[in-house]
Symmetry: C2
Subunit: 221 residues, 2 copies
DNA sequence: CGCGGAGTTGATGATCTTCAAACATGGTGG
DNA sequence: CCACCATGTTTGAAGATCATCAACTCCGCG
C-alpha cells in the first residue's frame, strides 16, 4: 500500500515465490485436478500459494448454500494469505492447476530476520485489497450487463488480450463472482453477442472473442 | 483537502500510527467539519490518516452519480493507504472529525531504515482486506434485511456494544454502504423495529438500541 | 445410443428501486 | 419564541430488474 506498485499491477512479485522469503526457503510444487479443493474455510492457514499454471477460485459460503467468489486467480497470482491461523475462505482448482507452496512460518521467520522483500509482500496484499475494492463497486452498484462487461474486460486484460479467450470457469462460477444467477449471466452474454460485442467460437460457450472492446468499456461505465 | 483544517502543534504520538513508523516520526492533528472532504479520488496520496475522534466514509463514485461506500472509519481507525501515488477513493468527514496525519514518505523512509514494524503494517492492510472480503459476501449474496442486520451488528461491535447507539451517518450513507437505496434501508429498519429487535430513542432516527442481538444475528446469517 | 453436465431461453414471480407525498427535525432570523 | 425552510426520514404505489422454475438444446462420453 505504501509502496509504489506502478505498472506491474497484475504481477504480484518478480517471478518466483521464493524471492519473497529470500533464497533460504524451499518451495514445493503441487498439482490439483479440476474441481479439487486446495484448502477450505476454517482450515489451518499453513501455506501460501502461487499458481504456475491453471486457475483457482477463492470463495465463501453461507450456511444455506449461497456462495460468493471473491476472486479468480490465474497464472502468477498468489493467494492464501491470512492474518490469523485459519483460512477465512476456501480455494478450489477450476481446471488442472499447478501451484508452488511455501510454509507461512518460513515467511514469518524470514520477516523476523529481515530477509523478506517487504515491499513485494505488502504490494501483493494491497493488490488483493484493490481488487476487492473494485469488486465492491461492481457488486454494490452495477447492473447485470455492466457486471458481465466488466468481467469480460477484466479477464481479457489478465489473459493479455488474446484474440480468442478461453474461460476457465463455468456460468455458475461467473454468476457467483458477479453476484448474479447463472441464467442472468447467460442472458447478458447473449445480449452482448446479439449486439455484436463478442462472438462465441463455433458452438462452444467458453471460447469467445471480444469484437468491440470499446463498446464493452462503455457498458463497463 | 488539508486547507480546510486547522493545524495543531506538531507532536509525537503514541498508538498505532507511531508504532507503524517508529518513534522518530512526527504527526500533525487536523480537524474537519461535518461533510468536508478529506481527500478526493485522483488526488496525490501524500498522507496517511488516523482518526482520534469522529467518523469518516471512504467511497468511489461512478460518472452518473452512483456511489459505493467501502467502509466507515471510526475512532482509532486508519485510512488513506495507497499503493500508487494517487488516492483511488475519496474520504469525507461524516461528523466533526479530528485526525492525525503523517506523511507517506515518512513511513517509506522508516521502512527503508528498517525501523518500521512490518508485521503491523501488513496486519493493517490485511485487516482492510478482510473487511472488504466480508463486505463482498454481503453485497453479492445477502438480502436487504440481512444487510441491515449485519450493518447494525457491525456498528454495535465497533462502538463496543453501547446500550444506546448513535449512528454518525444518515440513511443514504448506510444505503450506499450496503448497496441499497435509502428507502429500502428505512423499510428494513422499520421492520426490525416492528419485530422488536431494536427501538429508536424517542423521535430520533439515529439514536437506537438493539433489543435482541441474538435475533439480529440470525438475520445476519 | 442414451445419459448427464452445461448452457440457453421463456414465463412467472419476488425483491428492490423509483417516484411521490407526508411528516419530523433542527437551525435561522424576524 | 415562533415561523420558516432545508434536510432527513418514513411510508405508499407502481414499475424494473433480477431470481426462480421449467423446458429444451447441445455436447462429450460411457
Amino acid at each position: 500500500m505504501l509502496v509504489n506498485a506502478n505498472a506491474a499491477a497484475r504481477q504480484p512479485i518478480d517471478g518466483h515465490l521464493a524471492d519473497l522469503a529470500g533464497e533460504h526457503v524451499f518451495c514445493s510444487e503441487f498439482k490439483y485436478r479440476k474441481g479439487i479443493e486446495i484448502f477450505g474455510e476454517g482450515e489451518d492457514a499453513e501455506y501460501v500459494y502461487q499458481i504456475t499454471s491453471g486457475a483457482v477460485r477463492t470463495y465463501r459460503m453461507l450456511p444455506d448454500g449461497r456462495r460468493q467468489i471473491n476472486a479468480f486467480h490465474l497464472q502468477g497470482d498468489m493467494f492464501g494469505f491470512e492474518n490469523g491461523v485459519a483460512h477465512r475462505f476456501s480455494a478450489d482448482a477450476l481446471v488442472e492447476t499447478q501451484v508452488r507452496i511455501i510454509k507461512r512460518s518460513s515467511i514469518l521467520d524470514a520477516m523476523q530476520n529481515r530477509v523478506v522483500s517487504n515491499k513485494n509482500l505488502i504490494c501483493f496484499v494491497t493488490q488483493n485489497l484493490q481488487h476487492a475494492e473494485d469488486h465492491l463497486l461492481l457488486l454494490g452498484r452495477k447492473s447485470s450487463l455492466e457486471r458481465v462487461a466488466t468481467f469480460l474486460l477484466e479477464m481479457d486484460e489478465r489473459l493479455a488480450h488474446p484474440s480468442m479467450m478461453l474461460l476457465p470457469m463455468n456460468r455458475r462460477d461467473i454468476a457467483d463472482y458477479l453476484g448474479l444467477t447463472l441464467e442472468t449471466v447467460s442472458r447478458a452474454l447473449s445480449i452482448l453477442r446479439d449486439e455484436a460485442l463478442l462472438r462465441f467460437d463455433g458452438n462452444t460457450q467458453r471460447r469467445l472473442e471480444l469484437l468491440d472492446r470499446h463498446a464493452l468499456a462503455e457498458f463497463d461505465v
